[in-house]
Subunit: 331 residues, 4 copies
């Protein structure tokens, strides 16, 4: 339904080269202080600029169109929009019938037909993540003392991220990376058994981020190679704190009061300047493309704040469901 969340819920809209991208947030409690300035830090973290990020620069000014009055949320739906300003759609005309390998071009055309807005990847673009980051800012404010932080721990398989990016740029290629996200001071008991386990909800939203291909909680894949006697986290006291944290802060789908820890695998971007083989969808003949649009060589560089946002959104919704955030904040 392109809607996520039970109480604090989101719908996204927009396309890479359309008028606008944004998010509609329902269920945000009334009385939360909120102003455009609140978004500055996280939007800047997501914005391009560093080596390895796209030369497309967007101002990313959040237009709060509803749900906020006198710098506080009113309880009504919150619409936040970002105008697309730096659009060069002509870059894409030549690609109409030439699907980029590894990209959504082919499946989008298969699913939606020729009316699909393929420019810049349309609704499949990483551009959409600006809206998720905006919703994450609202979620983080709701979470109060809960700290959600993510960082890139490796890129292109190397912890020397700068070097790996430089090499990819030299080779007209692209690289992926791994993002680690942590949430501290999360109360025990968030999540519902089975279908709405904390892991289910977090992974659901994390896989909505373009380019994510894997997620693991706590010891994750490595933990599947450990013995139970070593993997089991021993409780230190009745608070639920454990000596180790192989569970990544979640047991039986419920948060256990320890730090939530998960890692996310981000694939290398598919749009690269190097020549690549593809097929012309109109003629059926083999073709070669070299992508001249403006793209990230490593969008994993910009992913941590997006993953943080996803985590904060899920936790805010679970906190509301568990009645640990009131539905009205005003004193």
């Amino acid at each position: 339904m392109n809607t996520f969340g039970r109480i604090f819920s989101l719908s996204l809209f927009g396309e890479s080269h359309g008028e606008t991208v944004g998010v509609l947030i329902n269920g945000c409690p009334a009385g939360l202080p909120l102003a455009a300035a609140d978004f500055a830090v996280d939007l800047k973290r997501r914005r391009s600029g560093a080596a390895g990020t796209t030369p497309r620069r967007e101002a990313d000014r959040p237009l709060i169109q509803s749900g906020v009055w006198k710098r506080r949320t009113t309880g009504a739906p919150i619409l936040i929009q970002f105008q697309n300003e730096n659009v060069r759609s002509q870059d894409y005309e030549a690609l109409r019938d030439l699907p980029r390998p590894g990209h959504a071009d082919f499946v989008a055309r298969t699913k939606y037909g020729r009316t699909h807005d393929f420019r810049g990847g349309g609704q499949f673009s990483g551009r959409m993540t600006v809206a998720l980051v905006a919703a994450g800012v609202v979620a983080k404010k709701l979470l109060g003392g809960i700290q959600v932080t993510a960082c890139l721990t490796e890129a292109g398989g190397s912890s020397d991220i700068k070097g790996a990016v430089a090499e990819a740029l030299r080779e007209k290629d692209s690289i992926g990376g791994i993002v680690e996200c942590r949430a501290a001071d999360v109360p025990a008991g968030l999540g519902e058994p089975f279908f709405d386990s904390a892991e289910s909800l977090l992974s659901h939203l994390v896989f909505a981020v373009p380019g994510v291909k894997g997620i693991e909680f706590g010891s994750g894949f490595g933990g599947s190679r450990m013995k139970g006697s070593r993997h089991n986290d021993v409780l230190l006291d009745r608070s639920g704190k454990t000596r180790t944290n192989h569970a990544g802060g979640i047991n039986g789908g419920l948060t256990n009061g320890n730090e939530i820890v998960f890692r996310v695998a981000v694939k290398p971007p598919s749009s690269i300047p190097r020549e690549q083989a593809t097929v012309n969808l109109r003629t059926g003949k083999p073709a070669v493309i070299s992508i001249s649009g403006r793209h990230d060589a490593c969008f994993a560089l910009r992913a941590p704040v997006v993953i943080e946002a996803a985590a904060a959104i899920v936790l805010a919704d679970l906190m509301l469901l568990e009645q640990r955030i009131p539905r009205r904040l005003e004193s």
Copy 2:
């Protein structure tokens, strides 16, 4: 909501040591042939018996209580129940105040209070997966030609699964494993952009399976270490078939017509005969437990058919949403 799926949707119920466990399926098209015998093969695959699986043996007879008449689905909700017959709750009395390390005992008590039915893990038990397997059987029948298969590729970090299990049993310990799942002949275009990406839905349901701590699609974590030029899957022709399948059959959240491939990390079971340190929740004092209940030393052995079920359920729902399965099957 403990409900999953948009058209073909499930709700689970039951507890490990209660009367019953089962599943209520809504949205199954009318006219599908369905009888108790259809469940035999998959239920047998899930059932215990091999070395490393629990000595608790359940008959697992599926009681189809509604929605089927004259061996065909009627379009009404389908209730499938399994009676719990082989229950030895006294095994758990001693554990009331002693949470097992790595288990949901502590968080369940935190969330639900002392009324929580902790016997055998209650609703957090792996016993619940019998209901998921049953729903998977129905989903597989709906999918017709789409083949979903999963297998255990390693256990305890070793591909010699038998040996790893034997060692764990000798050491009164437990081990995890990795399950690989594949779905062939899936049409292109299943999944919705952003929140209902195919990966989001598959991971959501897979993380609902107790003990799962990681998932990766296609090249997954390994792919995050590849260059884009190598990672991109080159199209061979207009059908969308690609030379490689690093995407695991999904681009931009939509199936691309190639085989869906994902791997799942299953942790070692937390209930082990070895002595373990814990805390007495009543007194707050350190304690030692040795778990005498009947448990799997490696429940990953029984997981493949559960993961298959999860994949089939998601695909059946997406096929209905995409109108590739009719809402009424009878001619």
Copy 3:
């Protein structure tokens, strides 16, 4: 989805002449005292027996199959089943191709095809309301001090209900009626603006009850004929209490702290002993039927407790959403 409610949510299952009917309740807070005896009063109110109700007598024993342990809810899904015991399906064999005028027979066959379980109306039967009443009992217990009461104010257009029923029986005919429902001591502010207005949710569930064809809140249809100056309810003080209650306790979709009042129109049952014209669906030829099954001449007699249940279910869900009922009740 055959699922209703955001936190306190229900799914129904079963058929009139199948094995069972029942309800699966999710989201009920842990710690609520609940036992089979709690259902006795409301089930008795719904049961047949009086003149004008069906001679089919069902024991209506609620089997609580999950989610309750030691007479308290555990927080896990609650499955409540009723076995169908007094089934005489042969009554229906003759009707296979003869749709009863005014009944769901024709549309059910159109929608589901010949596999539809038409016996006794299948899932369209008033028998299903036993499950709704059971869920209502749980909801009422959650509501604590909020009193929900409904009664039949007229039958067959007359306030002499006994006389109207006697006449219908004499004439081998059937009659409808009007049910009025009131909920007192409801806090102000329940309901969400627009799509989840209190009226939207109440009407949604009330129209799920077979035979309901109209609903009005407060002054309702009569109010549409009043002037605003008379219709507006004047506030008496800051508590929100009003002198009149033309709004029926709801303004702008939100409860206003006054009594909720609504009236429901129930149609006359379509199954009557009198001869009626229909069409044979196999041959296409006109036919005459006289329905020999066991039916209510006035199921409106049994409707009040069902409407009460619907109201209580909606209010319980809204109270949970508004955090006025905790998610865990145990002290």
Copy 4:
């Protein structure tokens, strides 16, 4: 969730005196021709201007911000916005502590606190219906041959609508009315048994329209006073056409192929120029207000196109669910 619909789904946003009001539509099939001009007729029908409607005039220009490219829907979410241009919020400053009798002022303040944007009724304003009408235009285009039409059959209890309005204006008062809606050529079998009955969904959305206090299908309240022998609609042939239409086109919650007919009771507007008693929420003392803002004396005059929109939205969603509208329209 302020979201309605399973496949074709809507979220509304905006406030009467904020920047904007609008709707976000998800699940609209790709390939539907759509341009701003398509909205002109229905928006004009809703707009004020006639005697008895508010002097606030809004241009109501639909800004299609996403989901449409080259005048066709792309399959991506469709955002349609309307700027609020003709706002005179100073009219409301004096009313901050003086809740209008019969209005949502009191409950909104109770629910959301003092941060609620009360200007012009905020999100409770009839202004929101412009967004519903816009979504209705899209739904009607999807419905193709299905004709949905509504008209005002009486106002202030009189069929001389002009006269009734003139009288209300003379008396500085307001009046309500009754809207009748019909949908012809609807296929049989739409709707789901029990919770998603056609009546449940229609009433849910109709009660989301501000000022609606009652709904009845077919014979409705009058039918509750008829005998079954007269109320039952006799089938004429195997097509399902019936001689009478007391069912209003719906049996057992499913459309039966006959015309859908329902009537809606609209209350008189609460904002009237006449002096009215109320209570000052700050001081608790009695007060008198005379409302000087710009208001409709009879918003029922503008309601038919809104009710049509609600009906079309529900039917479009059910048609998609029943696979009678494809998910992709382009040939």
